[in-house]
């Protein structure tokens, strides 16, 4: 079973959620599945704990939610706002900077 949310993943779920919602609106279950799919199952968000993350982003104005009846069920769909897009750009830049730094550190010979 894939381990969910290891300690070093702080901030990654937020980045992934914003990235996926930048493409189209989705509901919680769909987002968990999409995260698994786009990361090749390397990252698996906790099924039950995705909602606090989504609600928190909504409270901060990064997402907006709307209820939509689908197939006899009422889904809560989340969509990215302009503020969310700005947050995504910032997180993406931060991630690339950190990723570059770690890649450099890993490529440095160990005796250096």
């Amino acid at each position: 079973m894939t381990q969910t949310n290891p300690p070093f993943m702080s901030g990654v779920p937020e980045l992934l959620l914003l990235r996926l919602l930048d493409q189209r609106e989705m509901y919680g279950y769909e987002l968990v599945r999409s995260v698994r799919k786009v990361t090749g199952e390397a990252i698996s968000l906790g099924e039950g704990v995705i909602y606090p993350a989504l609600h928190s982003l909504e409270r901060n104005g990064a997402l907006k939610a709307r209820r939509k009846p689908v197939g006899g069920r009422t889904r809560v769909y989340y969509a990215l706002t302009a503020k969310g897009r700005q947050r995504l750009d910032k997180l993406r830049n931060d991630w690339r900077r950190i990723q570059g730094g770690i890649t450099n550190a890993l490529e440095v010979p160990s005796h250096a």
Partner: protein, 141 residues
Amino acid sequence: MPRPDFGSLQAQLLRSGLSPRHVRRTITELDEHFDDLVDEAVANGACVYASEQQALQDLGDVHEIAAVIGERPELRSWAFHHPRIAVLLYPLVCFAVLPAVPLIAGVTNAVYLGRWMACAALSGVVTASIMLFLQLSFALT
């Protein structure tokens, strides 16, 4: 049928300071998520009981979910963050809203109120007809 203990989760979330509206929404979303997990497992060929057991495990323990939500102070209600102001404001708001309560109740239950008024009018007409009939009967005899 095994289902997550949403009643316990609801109580924990309310105790941790989330607004009732937010708690209702969280429970609804988790409930839908559980059903989706079961449906997916059943579609993959598992029996319903096994699917529900797996969905329970995948969704996670309700105490853990409550703990994760509790770690996010931004999700707590305004009254939880400012209890003193809330204690002062709530009675004032209640007094201000009190005169409007009958009106709100009337609008909310307009259908039932309409039926009651129609019944009252009808019974008035019936009573008046009977009285008129009796009057005429006495007058003619």
